[in-house]
Symmetry: C2
Subunit: 216 residues, 2 copies
């Protein structure tokens, strides 16, 4: 099966990459730089693709300050909140319509290369904060993907109902090199350990009963 | 009402622009250069926005050859077909997932500026050739737009069941300066008159009982 993966270089999409390869899929990755504060994640994604000899395309969206205003992740004047992932302050990290843009671009890639499906790593931990990670949103986009082209495209979101801890367990079994993935929202070379993304990562490893190799 | 319009500079979206202004909407336009062969349409859109003092943003998508392969409109090696709009050869003009990309970007813009709705000019004449102009696709995207953000966005596609001729009649009543709109798929300074887009435009004016000012 030919699959296009939206690949950020974080834990979830890296696990999905290994998962797809393990299933025998031919995987092509799309890496999107939307001028995110933590775009260093994409360098991690690139290194992973090169290591695994996976075909990938990295694109840089222009002028997104106009399109994606007001988020701590795209607007330097908005501070990255600290604390748990499910706190209301974390809503500052929502990038307007980010996932629809990523899906639409990856969909064009998938249609262009006649892929069977389009994979992305949204998961249950995201639902409280990110409207565009909710199952209802994924369902609407799935429907749109059956209609956007004469070539039908299947939207594959296997972790939609899993927590990050459960994904981490899958990844550990698959041998995902988590030390080579990047999560921190502040985009520091050394993760801050205080933002919601760092805290959720720590909780995932605690759930899986492992030490995060990035912290060793 | 605050409305973001996907504005190409062609007949349909220009009519919609005048229609929205006539309704009293505060309109903001998004012009997307996806490296289309006929990107000159966007220069027409810019001129129109400047004339009407409408706020607009023009963005240029990168690297789209990888994302939008195989269409005569984005790939110079594919010839623009000539003949009627509903002929199978016209399918060469379909740009993979184009409308979802335009909608997603305009959706991000609309969410960022807290617009009430997002308008685009898909119409009934497009349904045979363009999968992403069909009512079912628009319906799925409408659903997605109610879910993509905590701020609900209404997708407004008022010409979805009208022909280009019917849109032309509306525009003539509104005083749309059609001589300042651009349609030709070949992107020539002087429209070719032979591609499907030019032929459909001619039919629209014939239906409305008027002479196209571009041909005077």
């Amino acid at each position: 099966m030919k699959t296009v993966l939206i690949y950020s270089g974080g834990m979830d999409s890296t696990t999905l990459l290994y998962d797809l390869i393990n299933k025998g899929d031919e995987v092509l990755c799309l890496l999107v730089d939307y001028n995110q504060r933590h775009s260093t994640e994409l360098d991690h994604a690139e290194r992973q693709c090169n290591k695994l000899r996976i075909e990938y395309t990295r694109i840089h969206l222009p002028n997104t300050k106009v399109l994606m205003q007001g988020s701590s992740q795209t607007d330097k004047s908005v501070k990255v909140p600290e604390g748990n992932y499910d706190e209301p302050t974390m809503k500052a990290t929502v990038v307007p319509n980010r996932n629809m843009i990523l899906l639409a671009l990856a969909g064009a890639y998938a249609v262009s290369v006649k892929a069977d499906r389009l994979a992305y790593g949204a998961h249950a931990g995201d639902h409280t904060i990110y409207p565009d990670c909710r199952p209802e949103f994924v369902e609407a986009m799935s429907k749109a993907f059956t209609l956007c082209d004469w070539h039908t495209l299947d939207l594959y979101v296997p972790y939609l109902h899993l927590t990050k801890g459960e994904i981490c367990k899958i990844g550990l079994k698959l041998g995902v090199p988590y030390g080579a993935t990047y999560t921190c929202y502040k985009g520091y070379f050394k993760p801050c350990g205080k933002c919601g993304a760092c805290m959720e990562r720590a909780e995932a490893f605690a759930f899986a009963g492992e030490v995060d190799p990035s912290c060793k």
